[in-house]
């Protein structure tokens, strides 16, 4: 049941195209537009925001029904269709790639989030980046990034998702590298290295995603057709395609045909796809690029490395969830939980204000991934947390940006202190969002984080699996640490006496556009949570967001398949466990909040306990945590030095062995050459000389005939002729 009318699609199509148009205009005419063209892009983003919000409320909000609204894009061809590989329609479906728009619950929510956050970040950066030398280029890059993100959300097939996925990687490369070309920025060298590192690490994840995607594209239809041949599935033969709709139906029916058993290769493919999320959402092994990405300007960190790009990984997980087998989900939970805990611990020791927020982002992403991993209602919790996190984390970054802007690009918290009087608005916004991220009730964070913990409890109660248990322990601990380091940040920057008088004197509140953005995001951070639920927070289902996000099951069932998410992951969420799980969750999250807050208050607020003594007592553990568990060094040491060594080795091989063989052949040739030369000179040449000499001797004899007398010649001629004639006659 598709409530979208054709012109809705045009509206949706306009959403990504406006930033693209803005980019193209900005690139060519940006420099000489008034105010370097930022108003044009800002206006564009405002329109996009209005469209997304309008579409969200008209279609997603009002719709509470069994089947999620979606469009069959290509099939009913009411949505705009883009034939990518061959422009002729007679090429069979699986050869030609037909891309359309998939606007369902998840896309609606994400679109709105990205629309709002991007607009506010544009607004903020128009103030923050005012004096920059490459101001118009910055705005161009940001708008192209927004185009890529919006495109990713709307794409209905995984290949286009991949295209926009990598395009975002490229834009983050350019944006992180923004200061790499700015001669007067102090950290030009670090920025250059950081942007390369970001692109390469995400590229590793991208290639895993590409491989997983190729596996699904090729193996899914083959398996489906084999089962069809064996009669396990009825229906007609399927052609391979990248579209999510096809992947879900085929996947669901294959799993169902194997009565709930996932074929092995499907887990492998699922794992590879999860590799993509690990790369992009900075999960444990591939998280090293996010802290370095802080080299980029703060609005970039806010938008890309907090709200949108890193959320794309979780979005992909949401999209590809039906294809994930239980084994893969175990790994997802494990990685997510571990990342959450791991990053939270490091967060406590970082002194750079943006560094803290970077590690907090990694940790929160770990929460989301773990939540989705638990399956069942966990998906709802994870995606919901993604939405709320986008708001308050963006606000945190922007407020950190305004703090930095105020303190003239000073990022080290050690030098700040007592800024609350100097920067009241920033302080208020930052406080609100810290409460939100900590999970204070009535704030957005509480609803989503509490739901995550609830889903983890549910999944562990229903089936006792290793990863779930680990998550059950790790996530609350991480939540506690989150509260601790967030309040540490607040106390260090805003409370206590100013540690660096010079900075304190010059600190000033940020100009209007920046504070307006901060207020906007802070309010979303506060009301975001409650507003979404439109139902009592304690109950488990019936919340408006759940059926918005639980589209997959409904989608497949409406297509005749019976892809029941809960049943697929064999997490039978009975009414009873859901309720008890939930009660437990509320209790755990509140206690964790209190614990974290008082610890931070105790150490940093009231300065009762000198943090130095704790760190000295912890000793080695503290060093390890402070140096980020030496992961960077480990990766640099092993992977990067390994590849470089391999490269140098292969260069040597190429130069010496392969080229060597050629040169060897050459040298061999030359060796043979000299040998032959000798032979030639002495033997062959000798013979030739001998021949030469003999001929010369004969020559001198013959010369006698050369008398110079004509008559002798005539007589020789006649004699010769006669001899010939005689010879001729005689024979």
């Amino acid at each position: 049941m598709n409530t979208l009318t054709p012109n809705d699609y045009l509206l949706l199509l306009a959403v990504p195209l406006i930033p693209l148009l803005g980019y193209v205009v900005q690139i060519f005419f940006g420099r000489n537009l008034p105010r370097k063209g930022d108003w044009m892009l800002l206006g564009g983003m405002f329109i996009v925001m209005c469209i997304t919000v309008y579409m969200f409320f008209v279609h997603a909000m009002g719709h509470v029904g069994p089947a999620p609204f979606w469009n069959e894009s290509a099939m009913t061809a009411d949505g705009p269709v883009f034939r990518w590989l061959y422009n002729t329609s007679d090429v069979p479906g699986d050869q030609n790639l037909i891309a359309g728009i998939l606007y369902d619950g998840l896309a609606a929510a994400m679109l709105m989030v990205v629309g709002v956050v991007s607009f506010l970040v544009h607004l903020f950066s128009s103030g923050y980046m005012a004096g920059d030398r490459r101001y118009h280029i910055f705005f161009a890059n940001i708008s192209l990034f927004t185009f890529a993100m919006l495109g990713l959300i709307l794409s209905d097939n995984i290949l286009f998702l991949f295209v926009f996925w990598e395009l975002m990687g490229f834009m983050s490369y350019l944006l992180i590298g923004h200061f790499a070309q700015d001669p007067d920025s102090p950290r030009i060298k670090h920025a250059a290295a950081a942007c390369k590192k970001a692109f390469l690490t995400t590229r590793v994840g991208d290639t895993c995603l590409f491989f997983g995607m190729a596996m699904f594209y090729f193996l899914l239809p083959r398996e489906y057709n084999d089962l069809l041949a064996q009669g396990a599935i009825e229906g007609e033969r399927v052609i391979s395609s990248f579209r999510f709709v096809d992947l879900w139906t085929m996947g669901g029916q294959i799993v169902e045909a194997n009565n709930g058993e996932y074929p092995f290769w499907m887990s492998v493919a699922g794992l590879f796809t999860f590799g993509g999320t690990v790369g992009k959402s900075a999960q444990f092994p591939l998280h090293i690029w996010l802290p370095d990405a802080m080299e980029g300007p703060t609005p970039v960190s806010a938008m890309i490395h907090a709200a949108t790009m890193v959320a794309a990984g979780v979005f992909l997980l949401g999209r590809m969830f039906p294809m994930m087998s239980p084994e893969v989900l175990q790994i997802v939970i494990a990685v997510g939980a571990f990342t959450a805990l791991f990053a939270a611990t490091i967060g406590c020791t970082v002194n750079d204000i943006k560094g803290v927020l970077a590690y907090s982002t990694i940790s929160q992403l770990g929460f989301m991934v773990a939540a989705i991993g638990t399956g069942g209602l966990g998906i709802v919790a994870g995606l919901f947390h993604m939405v709320t996190h986008a708001f308050f984390k963006a606000c945190l970054f922007l407020s950190a940006g305004s703090v930095i802007h105020g303190c003239h690009h000073e990022q080290d918290m050690q030098k700040m202190g007592g800024l609350r009087k100097k920067m009241p608005i920033t302080f208020m916004c930052m406080l609100i969002c810290t409460l939100a991220i900590a999970g204070m009730p009535l704030f957005a964070g509480y609803y989503s984080k509490d739901r995550i913990i609830a889903s983890v409890i549910d999944s562990t109660l229903t089936q006792w699996r290793g990863a779930n248990v680990f998550a059950l322990v790790a996530l609350p601990l991480a939540a506690m640490l989150t509260t601790f380091y967030m309040f540490r940040l607040i106390f260090l920057t805003f409370f206590g006496e100013p540690r660096d008088q010079h900075i304190h004197d010059h600190a000033h509140e940020s100009p209007i556009p920046m504070t307006a953005a901060l207020i906007g995001l802070a309010s979303l951070g506060m009301f975001g949570g409650h507003f979404w639920l439109a139902g009592d927070p304690l109950s488990n289902n019936g919340t408006w967001f759940t059926n918005l996000v639980q589209w997959q099951t409904m989608y497949v069932t409406s297509r005749g398949g019976s892809l029941d998410l809960t049943s697929m992951n064999m997490i039978a969420v009975t009414e009873h466990t859901a309720h008890t799980g939930h009660v437990w969750a509320v209790g755990v999250s509140l206690s964790v909040l209190a614990l974290g807050f008082f610890a931070a208050l105790w150490i940093y607020g009231l300065k009762k306990l000198d943090p130095a003594r704790i760190t000295s007592k912890l000793g080695l553990v503290y060093e390890a945590v402070r140096d980020k568990y030496y992961v960077d060094e480990a990766v640099n040491g092993s992977v990067i030095r390994g590849t470089m060594g391999l490269a140098k080795g292969q260069k040597w091989i190429d130069e010496n062995i392969i080229d060597g063989t050629v040169l060897g052949v050459g040298r061999l040739g030359r060796g043979l050459g000299t040998l032959c030369a000798w032979i030639d000179k002495n033997i062959v040449d000798g013979a030739v000389n001998w021949v030469g000499n003999t001929t010369q001797a004969l020559g001198s004899v013959a010369r006698l005939l050369q008398t110079g007398r004509i008559q002798q010649y005539v007589s020789f001629a006649v004699g010769g002729a006669l001899l010939l004639a005689a010879f001729h006659i005689l024979t």
């Binding site: 006669l722 005689a726 006659i729």
Partner: protein, 205 residues
Amino acid sequence: MSILHQQRAFYGLLTLAILTSVGYGLVSHGAEGMAFGFFSSFTIAGSLMCIWERSVVRSAFSLMATFMGVAGLFLLLGSDFLAMAQILIYVGGILALILFGVMLTPPDLGERSLPRIGGTLVLVLGGASLVWKHVMDATESLAVLPVEELTPMTSQDQSVGLAFLHPEQYVVAFELAAFLLTVALVAAVYIARRRTADFEPEEAA
């Protein structure tokens, strides 16, 4: 034998040979045979005399006899234009040239040596006779008609003249010959020009 006896013996033999060939021609082929005998013996005698004679002048003049004999033979063979050309060019032109050559070069009477002449004559004649049979076989292959079926001889000077200028036939050769003659003339004059060096007195080398 003294030189005089030699001369007398040689010329006696010569006239005897001429007569026998004329006689034999008359006997074997009637008038035509006689004419052939006369002309052919005249040619051969002339050349023999040219080789025999000690003085160059006499040899030169004996050559005239040869040319006349050959002209006669041409007549016998029906090409009158050719005979006339033969007489005109060979006797009138070339012989005169040779005489000029004789005049411009010192006489060298002692130069003739009979044994040399005799030796080469015998040698060459021997070789020639050896080859003669072979040459005769070669002529078999020529499409040569026996005397009887020959078409009667008609004077073709008209056609020869036309042939010279007829585009398909010899006009090119004719023009080339004309061109060649002029070039030869100029070249001869150039080669034989009097060097300026001749006029200065040469110092002792």
